[in-house]
Structures are given as structure tokens and as C-alpha cells.
């Protein structure tokens, strides 16, 4: 596994164009700023219910977001704000949904755990562990059946590798060589329980790839270049009929599992160690190293912050959803009638 990782690191230096690099940075900054804003909005009690942030995990969503074709499909979990934004969904739509406003992506009907933006290929966020892996396989089946060369990308956590649907979906995809990339974001914890205490192997996804005839792929999930290159490799392979991949990206969430969680179960010093490996920090340093000007980066940061402010204002200004939505859209006819 260590070797795989090294080979990727080396490749990273060469294969990524300058424009792509800037986009990878811009996207990570967007995801970071928007999540931070979401956190502020909780504290102001403008976001009700629950919410699960990807702070610290941005490199994965960004790396894949940049590598995907616009008509590819993303399947997310409740921890899906970043993945949704990474496909180009409107920030106002995301923040609005978190706040339960009518401008929300789902007009407030779904909530933070169910972000969906079909126009941008975000085919839903799924809040029951494991459920979306089979669904992502099904989308891949559809691409294969219709010969569209679309690829389906499915994100999930380390804890998800212990549920039955994980196993069924990956075998199913492997047998039919479906163009689907399963991406395990290993952030070391399920909700509050360390993954190693409940899993029989060290690398909950990578050590299980062989059980589906797949190669073991373990990457540094805090290095956007590495994620991007890995994504490109396996997405392109899947697009050409090479079948599915299972990728484990090691990362860490800076905040608690959800808004209610102060993260007290973490051993002392762990967060600090990972903050050293903050994907944004790593990437900013790398860009400066490879010759980007400080000003280029601060421009991106300023511009992104402006977008976040704009989106926040728009979402705050948006009214709550109309009550008649309650009885809408159970069925394709727009209604909810179960009887005549």
C-alpha cells in the first residue's frame, strides 16, 4: 500500500496542469469557506436539525469534482455539502437548504442530509448508511446499458464499510464491470467510535478490495493532487469499460461528527496533528512552491469569500417554503393522492 501511495505522489508533480491546479485550490477554498459559514449559521441557530461538515476533508471532494465530466454522477452521504458544491451546485441552494428556505436545492423538503442537484449530476445525498452504494451501481448500469460513457462516483465513510450494502454493491458492480468508483473517505471515525475498534482490518476499504477482485488503492486524502490523479486514472478506466474501483482516501474531519458533537472521544493531540496536514494548507504551500504568486491565491480567497457572503445573504433573504409543498411531489403527477 505504501508503494502505491508513493508512486502517486511522484506522478502528481508532473501530470497536473497549472489551470487544474488553480481550480483544485479554488474549489477547496470554496468548500472550506462554505462549510465554515454553515458552522456559523448553526451557532446563530439559523440552521435547524442536524448537519455534518466536511471541514478537513475538502481535498477528496475537490479532487474528484475536478476530475469528473459534467455528465458524470455523484452520490453523497449526509456529509455531502462539499461533494454537492464540487459539482457546481449553487451555494445559495446549498446554504438555503441547510436553513430550510425556499431557495434551497430541495426547497426545504430534504434538508442538509439529502442535498440533490440532478442538473449538476448530484443524484442525491443518502442518510442511511450504505444505501447509496447499490444506487450508484445502478446508475453505472444505466450508463453501460445506454453506452454513454458516464461514470458514477459514490462517496462514503470508513464506518460504512461494515454494512451489508457495501458488500453487495461492490460485488455486483465488479461482476458486471460497471463504471462506478466507490470512494471511501476514511476519517478514522464513524460517529464517535474509532473505526479500528469495530473493523477487522486496518484499511477498511483498501484491505477489502481483493474480496471483489479489485486492486487495493489507498491514497492520501488530504493531498488534492494525489486524489485528482487517482480519480482521473480510475474514472477514465471505468469510462473505457475497465469496470469499477474501490478507493480509500485517508483523511480527518476537523469538527465533530455533526453539529451536536464536540468530538471529545479523540485522543489528545490527534486533531492538532491533522491540522498540520490540513489539505488547504498543504495545497497552498505547494502552489507557492511550484511558482504561483501569493496574489493569485489571495485573489481566489477574496473572490470566494465574496461568493459566500452573497450566497448567505440570498439564503437569509429567501422565505420559508410554502406549506403547500407538504402535499406535493410524492408522485410524478406532482401530487400526493393515495386514493380517488
Amino acid at each position: 500500500m505504501a508503494t502505491t501511495t508513493k508512486r502517486k505522489k511522484a506522478a502528481a508533480a508532473d501530470d497536473i496542469g497549472q489551470e487544474t491546479r488553480l481550480e483544485l485550490y479554488r474549489l477547496q477554498v470554496e468548500l472550506r469557506y462554505c462549510e465554515k459559514r454553515a458552522y456559523d449559521l448553526f451557532l446563530q441557530n439559523l440552521i435547524k436539525g442536524t448537519s455534518h461538515l466536511s471541514l478537513g476533508q475538502e481535498a477528496i471532494a475537490a479532487g474528484f469534482g475536478v476530475a469528473m465530466r459534467p455528465d458524470d454522477w455523484t452520490f453523497c452521504t449526509y456529509r455531502g455539502h462539499a461533494h454537492t458544491l464540487a459539482r457546481g451546485a449553487s451555494m445559495t441552494g446549498v446554504l438555503g437548504e441547510l436553513m430550510g428556505r425556499s431557495c434551497g436545492l430541495l426547497a426545504g423538503k430534504g434538508g442538509s442530509m439529502h442535498l440533490t442537484d440532478v442538473e449538476h449530476g448530484v443524484m442525491g445525498s443518502y442518510a442511511i448508511i450504505g444505501a447509496h452504494l447499490p444506487v450508484a451501481a445502478g446508475a453505472a448500469l444505466s450508463a453501460q446499458y445506454r453506452g454513454t460513457e458516464q461514470v458514477s462516483v459514490c462517496f462514503f465513510g470508513d464506518g460504512t464499510t461494515n454494512i451489508g450494502a457495501f458488500h453487495e454493491a461492490i460485488n455486483f458492480a465488479a461482476v458486471w464491470k460497471l463504471p462506478v468508483i466507490f470512494v471511501c473517505e476514511n476519517n478514522l471515525y464513524m460517529e464517535y467510535t474509532a473505526i479500528h475498534t469495530v473493523t477487522a482490518v486496518d484499511h477498511p476499504a483498501a484491505d477489502r478490495a481483493a474480496a471483489y477482485g479489485l486492486e487495493s488503492v489507498l491514497v492520501d486524502g488530504n493531498d488534492a493532487d494525489e486524489v485528482y490523479l487517482t480519480a482521473m486514472k480510475y474514472i477514465n478506466r471505468a469510462r473505457k469499460g475497465g469496470g469499477p474501483a474501490l478507493i480509500e482516501a485517508k483523511t480527518y474531519r476537523h469538527s465533530g461528527h455533526s453539529r451536536a458533537d464536540p468530538g471529545k472521544y479523540r485522543p489528545e493531540g490527534e486533531l492538532e496533528k491533522w491540522l498540520e496536514r490540513d489539505p488547504l494548507k498543504i495545497y497552498r504551500e505547494r502552489l507557492l512552491q511550484v511558482g504561483f504568486a501569493e496574489g493569485t491565491l489571495t485573489d481566489i480567497e477574496t473572490e470566494t469569500m465574496r461568493k459566500v457572503e452573497e450566497a448567505t445573504a440570498a439564503a437569509k433573504a429567501s422565505p420559508p417554503p410554502a406549506l403547500d409543498l407538504i402535499d406535493k411531489d410524492v408522485w410524478a403527477d406532482g401530487g400526493a393522492a393515495w386514493r380517488n
Binding site: 454522477w73 436545492l105 430541495l106 426547497a107 423538503k109 430534504g110 439529502h114 440533490t116 442537484d117 440532478v118 443524484m123 442525491g124 443518502y126 442511511i128 450504505g130 444505501a131 447509496h132 452504494l133 447499490p134 444506487v135 450508484a136 451501481a137 445502478g138 446508475a139 453505472a140 448500469l141 444505466s142 450508463a143 446499458y145 445506454r146 458516464q150 458514477s152 451489508g164 450494502a165 453487495e168 454493491a169 460485488n171 455486483f172 461482476v175 409543498l325 406535493k328 411531489d329 410524492v330 408522485w331 410524478a332 403527477d333 406532482g334 400526493a336 393522492a337 393515495w338 386514493r339 380517488n340
Partner: protein, 325 residues
């Protein structure tokens, strides 16, 4: 009209839709090469090939999840769950994902898909392969549910289900697979949400579903001939949407309602129908509402035990004689 078995009518319904629409594909366990464990899908692989008719691993969650993913990206899949009892192993996919996706996404996600399954008892298969679980599906907002009682209905309702833009569960009663009946020649498409009045009577309205329809009809014959009790028999056919107009109208005419359910007692579909009638048809009722159901027990296996657990025509006759004057 051609005479077909219920089993062959299933195949004919699927074939009709595969033929018509390239977006339709069909998959499940042992359905392709073997033609299904109930031989309901014989010949489909030969006719439509392995791209459109597929054998799956024993992975019900993957099967139903795949149907969902395929449906939201433009296909119109038909998935088979071999026995309806096995819906329990993929219930999350059915009840939490498929049923809710359209609503939660504010209408962005469409799920034109069909789940077919062999439902109900009578084959001495025991408690885990004989359940009538149509009420499980009926209880979930976002699912349409049909349970055809005849070869013509099973073909026509499968076709209607495939063409419907929403997820539909088709409960085929496994004891009916061998039943023969007339099926319209050529294209045959029925309508979801429509009950059928099979018999008109004066004393009592029997509302039944699937296998129970036949037993209700048999009981109604006996009641008429031997006991002078004249019964209307309504085949519900579709639990969601539910044709309450027909049911309420027929109950209003006779003043009495008897439901005959194969599902076990508690929270069966008959309870829902009873509660609707007890509200909206209350002033037309001449006496108590009677529910005849499988008792609230898991289904036993031995033939005599099974036969005395699922409602029989004899039991329907007896209960109606005792309860309807």
C-alpha cells in the same frame, strides 16, 4: 382472447413492455437462464438477450438499489424479488430510498421502476416463504401497490406499472401461478388505482384481494345458494392508489362491509379500508364492520395447518353467516 396461466401472463406482460420500450430491462435471481423459480419469466432471455434480461447474485439490496439508480438515470427497470418475504432484506432500499427520493428531492428524481414479487401462502413453504406482505408496502408513502387476482389483470397491471412514472410494487400471488384465464390478445394495459366489482349483492359487500378474491367469490356463491345471503364482491386490485370511490359506493349499497385479507390481522390493508368506511360511510352502515384475516400468527407449514390459517371459502361463509343477518 387467449387462455393463459397467471404464470405465463406475467411473462407476457414483461415481454410486451420489453418489446415496446428499449429503456425497459429486467433482472433478478435465477430469472434469466432458468426462467425464474416459478417459471414466470421463461423465454425472456432467449427473446431479449442477456443485455436486457439478467441473472443477479443473491444481493437483494444491490438488485433493488440498482433498479433505483437505473430508474433515476433514464431506464425503466423491472426487478424481481423472488419471494415477497425477502423484501425484508432490502426494505431500506424500498421503504426509505425508493419511496422517498422524489419527495425529498423536490421532484428532481423520477423513479419509474417496478418490483415484482411472489407473495402469499398456500404452497406449504412455511413462515418465511409464504407471507402476504402487501400491507408492508401499502404503509409506505411513495409506493404504489397492486396485487392482481387473474391472468388478465396480472398482465395488464404489470404493463401499467412499467409505464407508470412512479415506483410500483406488483404482488403476484404464488398460489395463482397455475390458474388459467382469458387474457386479451395483443397489447393489454390496465389502469392502476381501479377496483373491480365482480358480483353485485344486496346484503353485504365483501372486499378482497388476490387469492382471497377467488375465495370470496366461492363463498358468495355458497352464501347465495345455500343461505340466501347475497353479497357484492369487490376485487381491490390496487392498494395504492386505492379506489375508495368504488369501495364506498358498494358498501353504501349493501350497508355492510366484510374485508377478506390474506395478510395477518394487525394493520392489514383491511384495517385501512375499514377505517375509511367507518368514517366516510358511517351513516350508511347497518351493522359492524367485519374483518376476516389470517390470524396474527406466523404461517405454519403442514398442509392442514396452513389450510386452516389462511382464510378459506368455508371460513368466509361461516363468518358471514354468523355476522350478517
Amino acid at each position: 382472447m387467449a387462455e393463459l396461466t397467471y404464470r405465463d401472463a406475467v411473462a407476457a406482460g414483461i415481454a410486451q413492455e420489453l418489446e415496446r420500450d428499449e429503456r425497459v430491462l429486467f433482472f433478478g435471481e435465477d430469472v434469466a437462464a432458468a426462467g425464474g423459480v416459478f417459471k414466470t419469466t421463461v423465454g425472456l432471455l432467449e427473446k431479449f438477450g442477456p443485455r436486457r434480461v439478467r441473472d443477479c447474485p443473491i444481493s437483494e439490496q444491490a438488485i433493488i438499489g440498482a433498479a433505483m439508480g437505473a430508474a433515476m438515470t433514464g431506464l425503466r427497470p423491472i426487478a424481481e424479488i423472488m419471494f415477497s418475504d425477502f423484501l425484508a432484506v432490502c426494505w431500506d432500499m424500498v421503504a426509505n430510498e425508493i419511496a422517498k427520493a422524489r419527495y425529498m428531492s423536490h421532484g428532481q428524481i423520477q423513479l419509474p421502476l417496478v418490483i415484482r414479487t411472489a407473495n402469499g401462502g398456500g404452497a406449504r413453504f412455511g413462515a418465511q416463504h409464504s407471507q402476504a406482505v402487501e400491507n408492508w408496502a401499502m404503509a409506505i408513502p411513495g409506493l404504489k401497490v397492486v396485487a392482481p387476482a387473474t391472468p388478465a389483470d396480472v398482465k395488464g397491471l404489470i404493463a401499467a406499472a412499467v409505464r407508470d412514472p412512479d415506483p410500483v410494487l406488483v404482488f403476484e400471488q404464488k398460489s395463482l401461478y397455475a390458474m388459467k384465464g382469458e387474457v386479451p390478445e395483443g397489447e393489454h394495459v390496465d389502469r392502476l388505482g381501479t377496483a373491480k366489482v365482480l358480483r353485485q349483492g344486496k346484503d353485504c359487500t365483501i372486499v378482497a384481494l388476490a387469492l382471497m378474491v377467488h375465495r370470496a367469490l366461492e363463498a358468495a356463491e355458497t352464501l347465495e345458494k345455500e343461505h340466501g345471503i347475497s353479497c357484492t364482491v369487490v376485487d381491490v386490485r390496487s392498494l395504492v392508489p386505492l379506489d375508495t370511490q368504488t369501495i364506498l359506493a358498494e358498501v353504501a349499497k349493501t350497508g355492510r362491509l366484510v374485508t377478506v385479507e390474506e395478510n395477518p390481522r394487525l394493520c392489514g390493508w383491511g384495517a385501512e379500508v375499514a377505517s375509511i368506511v367507518a368514517d366516510e360511510c358511517f351513516w350508511n352502515l347497518d351493522g359492524p364492520i367485519v374483518r376476516i384475516t389470517t390470524p396474527h400468527v406466523p404461517l405454519p407449514s403442514a398442509d392442514q395447518l396452513e389450510d386452516n390459517t389462511i382464510p378459506s371459502a368455508t371460513r368466509i361463509v361461516r363468518e358471514i353467516r354468523e355476522r350478517i343477518d
